[in-house]
Point group: C2
Chain length 339, copies 2
């Protein structure tokens, strides 16, 4: 069934926003990649800057990136952010947490710094997701150096699983790393249906993938891929190999996916349980209709209507919210039309 | 490192034995496919028949198959068996449990009957494995009708996950079924390292596979396979497809795998954590050396020395035990040579 919706602008005019999260009373926090954090009041729509941020090494694809609340936020107040920091090897992806006191972060602490240093400013990841046992997953990328994704000697090209204090669970397969062979993961969710982490990643020319993240698994980059290098040459050894995971779906041509949400609200009944993915190059919101862990159909929404979509999350009252990229980034709410 | 070992015969002369399990004091129970259960005393080596078995429809590949102890055996005494029963559609795979009183099963109850009825006597599965949360996995096969493995409308070609009383956990993806696209799974373990269920399955001509079993996943048979049909024609659409799992390793030519164990003992230090697989057609014991969830090398042991191997389990004191098939089936213990 096709759902009709109203598209409401929540706030606009933020340069390259990257992520957002809703506080319990409906205020929203929005990260700006260049290193700002914004709070938009639900009641007034007024936007103000939040101070007390962690160190941020902004440039290229790096800066202040994801933001999520701890699952126990209502009692512990922790807000988690991923951000790029200067490191001896260039720059690395880090995770910090802090509490919010009005418009100021307090109790700031860096809980983890990934060992993914590199001198490029590309492929930092990074999304943050808590699962239902309280483990924190941190997506990363290959730092634009594809050979690092099959090499477990550092974190480039891996996806991490941590305790909420940044320590490493004893049952991880490879230290902090939980899976590997990833090119650049900019969308990740914990799926309450399968109780597993789902993620998508950018391919090169073609070959964007959606995967279920499994302990110890190898997602194949750059040994296997459904895409090609930008010069048209073949990548690795083909599209499949034993011991390497196949995606649930792939996109060729690339849509350049960013942001991911599982819709669990009641406002759009026919969307319940579906996966939503933002598209940068594709400039649309993509709905993946699933049965269990199979993607059975796809729908393209908002094509070329709002531009490049960087993030998608569910908001209060079952609204679906999207954040657009570019100089004049905006947060929109999709809600049922007034009857 | 190559381990040397002594090969000790525990008992011999059982026609087509299928599985075995050790009781806490070292006695061993051995199933005979045609419908007998044997108890061999650890101290004397004396073998006696156990009475009070469940219904068994023996014939072809069907009969009394796997046997395992409940993880809480020491307090609850439950022994689980898989066995083939007559059903309105021909024959089906069932799971029963009972307690053992001397040489007699008591408190016998059938906890589950799979909806995999068919008129062939092929591809019933069936191994039984408990995971560390107490869920019971039951492997099945496609009943020799390959089209059924991609069809979730019945249990043929699926792998089941149950509670210990045979009821269906609410978080299963497809009713009793946990994964699908399986041809015939005759080896399965719970791997304590990855905390996941590993299984192997028979290919057709080539294409035997080892897989990690994931919630909701599709293992591809007969849409994808590394094997060919017995007439040499191609199977399905090739070796890989999005949404279908790739094996960790495959064997072409087929070894016809049966039985599987993770070695956790101290008697053979260099085997610790390795996976052992029996081979019927291959007539050997195969050691899979793994790092986390990767198979990094393989070793063939006992090639053509004891015949077709139906099952492999770890025994008391870190011995590795194998059960051979055919008219004169035997149980052997591999133990360190006397120094």
């Amino acid at each position: 069934m096709e759902e009709s919706f109203a598209l409401v602008t929540v706030t606009e005019g933020i340069p390259n926003p990257w992520s957002f999260t809703f506080l319990p009373r409906g205020d929203v926090l929005i990260t700006q990649r260049s290193g700002k954090l914004w709070r938009v009041e639900a009641a007034s729509g007024r936007r103000s800057e939040v101070g007390g941020l962690p160190e941020i090494d902004a440039g290229g694809q790096g800066g202040l990136l994801d933001i999520v609340l701890h699952p126990g936020y209502s009692s512990n107040g922790w807000i988690y952010m991923s951000h790029v920091v200067s490191s001896s090897g260039g720059s690395s992806t880090a995770v910090s947490r802090a509490r919010l006191d009005g418009n100021r972060l307090t109790d700031l602490e860096r809980v983890f710094t990934a060992d993914n240093a590199g001198s490029t400013t590309r492929h930092f990841g990074s999304r943050l997701v808590f699962d239902d046992e309280g483990y924190l997953y941190v997506s990363l990328g290959d730092r634009g150096e594809s050979g690092r994704a099959q090499d477990l000697s550092d974190h480039a090209g891996t996806l991490l699983r941590l305790r909420d204090d940044g320590s490493i669970p004893g049952d991880n397969p490879y230290g902090a790393a939980f899976s590997y062979g990833h090119r650049n993961v900019q969308g990740m969710v914990f799926d309450p249906v399968s109780r597993e982490v789902w993620a998508h990643e950018h391919g090169a020319r073609g070959g964007d993938e959606v995967n279920i993240i499994k302990r110890g698994a190898n997602y194949g980059w750059p040994r296997i891929s459904y895409g090609r290098n930008y010069d048209g040459s073949r990548i690795g050894i083909g599209t499949a190999a034993p011991g390497m995971e196949q995606p649930l779906v792939y996109w060729d041509p690339s849509i350049a996916p960013s942001g991911m949400a599982v819709y669990t609200g009641d406002a759009f009944p026919s969307w319940k349980g579906d996966i939503f993915v933002g598209a940068l190059a594709g400039q649309h919101l993509r709905r993946l209709v699933r049965e269990g862990t199979r993607i059975v159909s796809q729908e393209v929404l908002l094509e070329k209507r709002v531009g490049r979509i960087r993030d998608v999350r569910q908001g209060p009252e079952g609204a679906l919210c999207i954040l657009t990229d570019e100089r004049n980034g905006s947060l929109y709410r999709l809600e049922p039309p007034e009857s």
